[in-house]
Amino acid sequence: MRNLYALLAGSLFGAGLHISGMTDTAKVQGWLDIFGDWDPTLAFVMGGAILPMAIAWRVAAVRKAPLTGGSFPEPPEPRLGRNLVIGSVLFGIGWGLAGLCPGPAVASITYGGSGVVVFMLAMLAGMGLAPRARSYLDRAVPAE
């Protein structure tokens, strides 16, 4: 049952990325490019996505457990930490360079051509390197 719900969630996510135009790197870079021909679409996508999600968090707060059992996620960690900032900056640079983030890269893997496949392989390699990058950061930048 968990897998079926996950498939449903992924299908909604994938359809949403596709329909919203977020698999089009020109629209993503067009939103980031405030000095170019600015494309507002991404703001509508974000707003549209946050709405049902905000309701879902409210519902989760009054329910005992998820439908398939187990427990809901812990409340958000209040500490920010340097990894959050450094990681987000690295991610942002990559996102700006290619106009791709993990979700849209997966969603367009069948029709984005070899470019998306190359990006995906590099992304998986990057994810594999992340634990090493994290321990490097631990040594290079003292914890706050």
Binding site: Y5, S11, G14, F35, L51, G94
Partner: protein, 141 residues
Amino acid sequence: MEMDWIRGLLGGLLIGSGGAVYLLANGRVMGASGIIGGLVDGSGRSTAGERASFLAGVVLLPLLLTLAFGGVATHVTGNLAVLVVAGLLVGTGTRIANGCTSGHGVCGISRLSLRGIVATCFYIGAGGLTVILFRHLLGII
């Protein structure tokens, strides 16, 4: 242009609904980088089965929609170096920061998580500066 924001809003609602299902049914935060990353390094609480099922949906629906209604433009760069560097940065960065546009952006902001909001400010800021630098000043992308 008007069509674009209607599609954006509609697609956004679907994205958020996917996150709502993943939260209320499975008790998980729908973050693409976390769901993929857990398959790479085995971290996190979700099972490999639910991760793979989720990703199957993410791949399948866009494929079915292109088969039914025709293809869409992706405008992915042909510059191999840019793709490799960008992929490495996105992969490493999202895992170090513990989230990307879906996890920190959609799921974090919607529960007013300070981490989600701060992460989103930093990746949007870095992304914006990157586009300005590499497009307008260097002319690479």
